[in-house]
């Protein structure tokens, strides 16, 4: 946990999950698991968010919504797929309206397994995402510097 230097904010969107993972994501924010002690806040605004938590698979109707939310988030950003449905479609894989996991719409960095994903697993996934975020930030800064040098 030593690597947390800023307070990363979360954006949560329910793709097409059964609610199970969503209430576990919310449970992470409430007193028993309480990720707020690390400065992690659930924000409703994609423009404030660093980490995008998506639960559930992708279908025709929400594909554009997930894509749009992802595009609205500022760089650098990390996507966490929470639950088996978000990873590959899970129990609904064969259902006619499910295209597949979240990676069918946007690039995913961390996959959290489980049905429903336990809060401990979600927190673990978010901590992994923080590491990815750190690396992305460094790469982002380096790219910016290089761009400045060539100008």
């Amino acid at each position: 946990m030593a690597k947390i230097t800023k307070s990363p904010w979360l954006l949560h969107y329910d793709g097409s999950s059964c609610n199970g993972c969503d209430i576990e994501v919310l449970a992470c924010l409430t007193p028993v698991y309480d990720v707020e002690r690390f400065g992690i806040i659930n924000t409703g605004n994609p423009k404030h968010a660093d980490i995008f938590l998506v639960t559930g698979g992708i279908n025709e109707k929400n594909k554009a919504v997930v894509k749009q939310l992802y595009d609205q988030m500022p760089e650098p950003k990390v996507v966490v797929a929470v639950g088996i449905c978000a990873c590959n479609g899970g129990v609904f894989k064969d259902a006619y309206n499910i295209i597949g996991g979240v990676d069918k719409a946007i690039p995913v960095d961390v996959y959290v397994p489980g049905c429903a994903a336990r809060p401990e697993a979600i927190i673990d996934g978010v901590v992994k995402a923080l590491g990815v975020l750190d690396e992305k930030q460094k790469a982002f800064k380096a790219a910016k510097k290089q761009k400045g040098a060539t100008k």
Partner: protein
């Protein structure tokens, strides 16, 4: 008349954990019309019944919704048991009743928390969810899962709760009741809560009937309907009254759900006192051939299940009419003429479960 404007609400909205979209037609600050559009969570799991063995389909139907997953599984089990003429052991009926009421408890506490969050009472939200965790711990101890339990099977239940565990649970509920009473007193007595809820979103008795409301929406309008009185599982042996409200507004709906929390404590106590010894499941042989309707009282209202089998291991048809779907016409009705700022609260007072609605 002032100019009309359309404000989109959702699918992603801070107050909603789930996606639902409403187009709100506004005249100044008043909502004139609300046009709902659903389908963001549609997976098509009723169709999956043709691809899965009818025993395995239990794991799919439970995942209609993570909040009332137990009751969806139970509705399916009851339906298939009716088709196949299976009489389940009494102990299994009581265990199902206890888990049902525990689901209702955790669902209502969850809803109270979300409501508190919607009117900006953050600490109340946290307290509700803290108490809910105790019930989830009990679920974990008795079934092994926190939100998806997979404890129903056709012909009974998969896991037993021994008597010492049941006694411990009752002790825990006794302690919890005190705490919950303190918590709900805030909802019932605090003037900030009353200011946000009283007189907001009135759904009269006539409107509730015309729009076909179910569950706490209907009961808050003063109409006593409760499918538990049909006596499925062990409810026939349990003594309880239907809770109704008078004022038909958001506050009445909150009050009805709060009273139902205490009713659930009561039902669990009665069930634990009466639970008989014996087996928890019977063997089921053969395939379902025929059709069945099942009605269940879920935390959000009445759910209707329909199943049809043709003697093979795959069912022909599964259909679920979930309570939130039945409550959407009432939601559209109460949104007409409300203040724009009240929209999140009104959406929450029907206790929306979008993944149930769209399946």
């Amino acid at each position: 008349m002032s100019k009309r404007s359309i404000v989109p609400f959702g699918p992603q909205h801070p107050v909603l954990p789930e996606p639902i979209h409403l187009d709100l037609v506004l005249e100044d600050e008043k909502v004139v019309e609300a046009i709902p559009s659903i389908g963001f969570v549609h997976r098509g799991l009723e169709k999956l019944v043709e691809k899965r063995n009818f025993h395995d389909y239990m794991y799919v139907i439970e995942r209609i919704c993570g909040i009332c997953s137990f009751m969806h599984g139970m509705g399916y089990a009851e339906g298939i048991e009716r088709i196949m003429d299976v009489e389940i052991p009494d102990r299994a009926k009581y265990l199902r009743t206890i888990w049902c009421e525990m689901s209702r408890l955790h669902s209502h506490l969850l809803w109270l928390g979300l409501l508190a969050d919607a009117f900006g009472f953050e600490s109340l939200f946290m307290h509700c969810w803290r108490m809910r965790e105790t019930i989830l711990d009990m679920f974990e101890a008795s079934t092994g899962g926190r939100v998806i339990f997979s404890v129903n099977k056709i012909g009974g239940v998969l896991k037993d709760m021994d008597n010492s565990m049941l006694r411990t649970f009752v002790d825990m509920f006794d302690k919890m009741e005190e705490e919950v009473r303190q918590l709900t007193n805030v909802f019932l007595k605090d003037y900030t809560v009353a200011n946000r809820l009283k007189g907001v979103g009135i759904l009269t008795k006539e409107d509730a009937i015309i729009n076909g409301a179910v569950g706490p929406m209907m009961r808050a309008a003063g109409i006593a309907t409760d499918t538990r009185k049909l006596g499925y599982a062990a409810y026939g042996d349990i003594d309880f009254d239907i809770i109704t409200g008078k004022d038909c507004d958001s506050f009445a709906r909150c009050e009805v759900r709060i009273n139902e929390i205490f009713q659930s404590f009561n039902i669990i106590r009665q069930a634990v006192a009466k639970i008989p010894e014996g087996p928890i499941a019977v063997d089921v042989k053969g395939n379902p051939n025929g059709e069945a309707f099942v009605r269940l009282e879920q935390p959000r209202g009445e759910a209707v299940f329909y199943f049809r089998g043709d003697g093979t291991q795959f069912l022909n048809r599964a259909r679920v009419r979930t309570p939130t779907f039945a409550n959407i016409p009432s939601l559209v009705k109460i949104l007409e003429g409300c203040d724009f700022a009240d929209v999140p609260i009104l959406v929450l007072t029907i206790d929306p479960c979008v993944s149930c609605t769209e399946r």
